[in-house]
């Protein structure tokens, strides 16, 4: 009190009254109101019987999250990445065959290139001689087969 007089003389002169009041019989009724609220709280408390859905909840949640992750990862991969991969492989195929052909052409000198052309022309235009044909037939067919063939024609 002396301390208060020293630091706050005006305040220490005031009466220590709390200028508040309450409704009539507030404290008489409060306990009964509190009991009513407690009863409501007790009734409102959820039952603790575990239901099947509650037991399965964590597993369902886990499965759902896996499915979600799968969808989020697999679908974009399938739609975007595969089309890109196809494009790349097609490009690679084209470029491979083209470049291989060019490499072969570059590897051949001019004279041997024309010699090759002449050779292929001669192969296509030249006929077999009778002697060559005779030796081929006698080497690959029996007399009987030749007889049969000539008899039918």
């Amino acid at each position: 009190m002396d301390e208060l007089k020293n630091i706050a003389p005006e305040l220490s002169k005031l009466k220590k009254e709390v200028p508040f009041s309450t409704p009539k019989n507030y404290f008489d009724d409060f306990s009964a109101r509190m009991q009513t609220r407690m009863q409501t709280e007790k009734q409102g408390e959820p039952e603790h019987k575990p239901k099947i859905i509650q037991l399965l909840k964590p597993f369902i949640g886990l499965a759902a999250s896996f499915a979600l992750i799968f969808l989020l990862v697999y679908v974009p991969l399938k739609t975007f990445i595969t089309s890109e991969i196809n494009e790349v492989t097609v490009n690679i195929d084209h470029s491979d065959t083209d470049s291989e052909f060019l490499n072969i052409l570059e590897g051949i000198d001019e004279s041997s290139f024309f010699a090759l052309l002449d050779e292929s022309e001669s192969e296509t235009t030249d006929d077999f001689t009778n002697e060559e044909l005779m030796s081929y037939v006698s080497a690959n067919f029996t007399d009987y087969e030749i007889f049969e063939f000539t008899k039918n024609n």
Partner: protein, 182 residues
């Protein structure tokens, strides 16, 4: 701890006597806690809500009560925390600055039909409302309730030295307001 408090605690922990013991606890402490809360939230209706929440919290957490502290300081601590939580929720709802609830409390005080102070008491309440929250609670507990610093330290979880300094600053500010405001 008084014997009556020890009996109440023992009965509260006994399943068969719990309801009756809780009724005893409410009737014993309702008035003291009401006035403690009322000085923090000002308005009667708000005080009624906070007081009910306080007792509900006591009911739910009676098993957590450690008999190292007295029942009285434990109840005061819950009531103080519930009052602060209530004011914080009001601040959020009304988009008030976090450290200033004085305007809301002033409005609450002046519109409360259960406030019947004269001019000087209104002035004193206005000065108290303008204090920072912690200082306001300390000032009310010391000035009106004349609570011991040791008990206050237990309720507010603060050192006695800090509480003395807080009360000193609060009293100075109130004095200044009383002197300088018409």
């Amino acid at each position: 701890m008084p014997d009556s408090d020890q009996n109440i605690i023992a009965d509260l922990k006994d399943e068969n006597k719990r309801d009756l013991a809780f009724h005893m606890l409410v009737t014993t402490y309702q008035e003291r806690l009401y006035w403690h809360i009322r000085k923090i939230v000002m308005n009667h209706d708000d005080t009624d809500d906070v007081l009910q929440n306080t007792f509900l919290k006591v009911w739910r957490s009676i098993d957590k009560f450690r008999e190292e502290s007295s029942l009285y300081t434990w109840l005061y601590r819950i009531a103080t925390n519930e009052s602060i939580t209530f004011l914080n929720s009001k601040k959020k709802k009304n988009m008030m600055p976090l450290n200033d609830v004085s305007e809301y409390l002033l409005e609450n005080l002046m519109s409360d039909p259960y406030f019947n102070g004269d001019e000087i008491q209104i002035k004193l309440q206005q000065a108290i409302i303008r204090l920072p929250e912690k200082q306001r609670i300390v000032f009310n507990m010391k000035y009106f309730d004349e609570m011991k610093y040791d008990d206050m330290a237990e309720v507010l979880d603060t050192s006695v030295g800090a509480l003395k300094a807080s009360y000193h600053h609060a009293a100075k500010k109130v004095e200044e307001y009383l002197k300088n405001t018409d």
